[in-house]
């Protein structure tokens, strides 16, 4: 079935009226979550089942609503960076970069080239760590098909620990780094770090081949191929971004299409696109991204330019920078898609705190496909689809 033919096929109705459903059917209502090991956090889906097949799925997010946007309104620009670390806790570097880029754009602060280079490097290494975590948990969600289910999880976490050790050497923290600031970086690259990066990423690059060999398994293909198909039309309507959109056949990557940092200097950035839109396509896209990020990181780590890591003084005391009234939007490509930061600065007396900070999380839009994609699948497939969407509830509920 081609992508076009699938797009023309009738979609399941997400607003199906259960009362007027076939009264002879074997109906059952089931809760998936909020405490469920496969929901990657606290996410609840109400499933209406006909026998074993889902006929309607109603998602209920909000079990981790921490009021981050409201909290940011009373903090100064320098204080916000450690708060947004906790939004997407699998890729905190990218969160810090998103808000700090918005603040720099608003305050008109120049970032030195060394800091820009470091940001690109850190973002790519973080992307490797995030995709590794996804690969491990996705393989675990698929369950016993993969040699006990937890083998790939154990291997992926072993590699992820190596990357976290790299970050620990740089910033002192395993995650929640607080290493970005308005105008640059706080921590410089320590001596011998580049060799460490080469050693770790080289080892991971070899091991990804092993994982791919392990996962090209007939049972894995059976669980993922043709499961949870998101066509390109639906993906664009619901605002999907990142690997989910690319797996649906839309060639869109902010790193290439709207370059920031120093991505415009990387000419041969390979963007993986698959046309099937199923779980297998999402897996393939992410594995290609994993290799590409490793390649870019190893390229970048050798060419870090000399110079200061922070433009002028790092912003420390409140009132050092005063923003005029205005608004900016900054979008960057995280492992899950476009992370947007929309900042409205109050100006005047409210110059050193944001008036409103809106975060556009990619995972929230990813979860919007649940009512459209779940119907027609069995419950075990629902778990596989949810795993392939890679939602992080910290940024969905914020």
């Amino acid at each position: 079935m081609t992508a076009i033919a699938r797009a023309r096929a009738p979609r399941p109705d997400p607003f199906l009226d259960i009362d007027s459903y076939d009264p002879e059917a074997d109906l059952m209502v089931m809760n998936l979550g909020p405490q469920h090991p496969s929901t990657h956090g606290v996410f609840r889906v109400l499933l209406y089942l006909d026998g074993e097949i889902i006929i309607k799925a109603v998602p209920y997010p909000g079990y981790l609503h921490r009021g981050v946007e409201k909290l940011c309104e009373k903090l100064t620009y320098a204080q916000i960076t450690p708060i947004v670390d906790k939004n997407d806790y699998v890729a905190p570097m990218l969160n810090e970069q998103a808000v700090n880029m918005a603040f720099e754009k608003m305050l008109g602060v120049e970032v030195p080239p060394r800091a820009l280079h470091m940001r690109t490097l850190l973002a790519e290494i973080q992307r490797v760590a995030s995709h590794l975590l996804w690969l491990g948990t996705f393989a675990m969600d698929l369950g016993g098909a993969l040699g006990g289910g937890t083998s790939v999880f154990m291997y992926c976490f072993r590699e992820r620990e190596a990357i976290l050790d790299l970050f620990e050497k740089l910033t002192g923290c395993r995650f929640h780094y607080n290493t970005h600031t308005v105008g640059g970086q706080r921590h410089d690259i320590p001596a011998g770090w580049a060799a460490e990066v080469h050693r770790v990423l080289g080892a991971i690059s070899d091991r990804i081949d092993e994982y791919e060999a392990m996962l090209s398994h007939p049972i894995f293909l059976k669980r993922t191929k043709g499961v949870g198909v998101i066509d390109a039309q639906l993906a664009l309507e619901l605002g999907l971004t990142g690997p989910l959109l690319r797996a649906s056949g839309v060639d869109h990557d902010l790193r290439r299409d709207a370059p920031y940092h120093i991505y415009d200097q990387i000419k041969d950035l390979k963007v993986a696109v698959e046309s099937d839109g199923d779980c297998l396509a999402r897996y393939k896209v992410r594995v290609v991204e994993l290799r590409e990020s490793i390649r870019i990181s190893r390229l970048l780590v050798d060419n870090v330019p000399e110079g200061p890591i922070c433009g002028g003084r790092p912003i420390k005391q409140p009132g050092q920078f005063k923003a005029k009234a205005g608004q900016v939007y900054v979008g960057i490509e995280t492992p899950r898609g476009e992370l947007g930061t929309y900042l409205i600065a109050g100006g005047g007396k409210m110059g050193d705190t944001p008036y409103r900070l809106k975060i556009r999380p990619p995972s929230l839009h990813a979860l919007a496909v649940v009512p459209y994609v779940f119907p027609g699948h069995s419950v075990s497939d629902a778990v596989a689809i949810l795993g392939s969407l890679d939602p992080i509830m910290g940024e969905v509920d914020r």
């Binding site: 405490q35 956090g41 079990y63 409201k70 906790k86 948990t137 929640h176």
Partner: protein, 234 residues
């Protein structure tokens, strides 16, 4: 809010049966040792992993730190678990679910609060949707501070729990857990009554203000006569 240790008991009908037969009561101590050994080396974990600490919990269960070597296997259902690890921020919407899952766990059971959010709410504690620490809902045995704690710290917390269980089952006193962030979170700006650092001038001002109100005097009923004290010889 620490656990009320006096209400924890490990009574079992088996003990009563054993005590009926002379000589067999000696065996109960051996049975107790056996049960303690078993309880300590099979603390199955129910992960209440909501946010960032959940990732560190997964890292602790993975190959590098490996909680499995202590016999602490992760279970997906509360009915098979002994220890609940609350890892992450607990919101107002989630707290009743945590309580319900805690109630479903069979006795004896323990709870570990992992990370600042589970201990005190951290910097979200002033937010309308976050509860200030999981110990307002369920009793906590071990606190593991950190944001998030390393997997090694979680391991240290599990060892601390084993130590506590050993002491408790041997009938020995174990020092109660202090909540690490208590002074930071519940110390009020104006010191409450009986606090040593309370400013006496506030008291004096309050008393003066109360006296200056000139409230109408009410005649109180007379107090009853105290009963005569009984002598020791009677």
């Amino acid at each position: 809010m620490a656990v009320n240790e006096s209400e924890r008991s490990f009574q079992h009908p088996l003990y009563e049966v054993l005590e009926r037969f002379p000589g067999l009561d000696l065996a109960t101590t051996q049975v107790d040792k056996l049960l303690t050994w078993g309880a300590n080396n099979s603390q199955w974990i129910f992960p209440m992993a909501t946010s960032c600490c959940g990732i560190e919990f997964m890292a602790a269960a993975a190959s590098l730190v490996d909680l499995d070597r202590m016999g602490s296997i992760t279970r997906g259902t509360p009915r098979q678990s002994d220890v609940m690890v609350v890892a992450g921020t607990i919101t107002v919407k989630m707290a009743p679910r945590v309580k319900r899952l805690w109630d479903q766990m069979p006795e004896p059971k323990w709870c570990i609060a992992m990370g600042s959010c589970a201990i005190s709410g951290d910097f979200y504690r002033d937010i309308y949707s976050v509860i200030p620490g999981i110990d307002v809902a369920i009793p906590v045995d071990v606190y593991i501070p950190g944001c998030p704690p390393n997997p090694e710290q979680l391991m240290a917390g599990m060892l601390r729990l084993q130590e506590k269980v050993n002491l408790k089952r041997a009938g020995l006193w174990s020092p109660p857990e202090t909540r690490p962030e208590t002074p930071k979170t519940i110390e009020p700006a104006i010191k409450r009554l009986l606090h040593q650092g309370r400013d006496r001038r506030i008291d004096a001002a309050q008393i003066d203000q109360a006296l200056s109100l000139e409230l109408p005097v009410v005649d109180l009923p007379p107090l009853p006569e105290p009963a005569p004290e009984k002598g020791e010889d009677e």
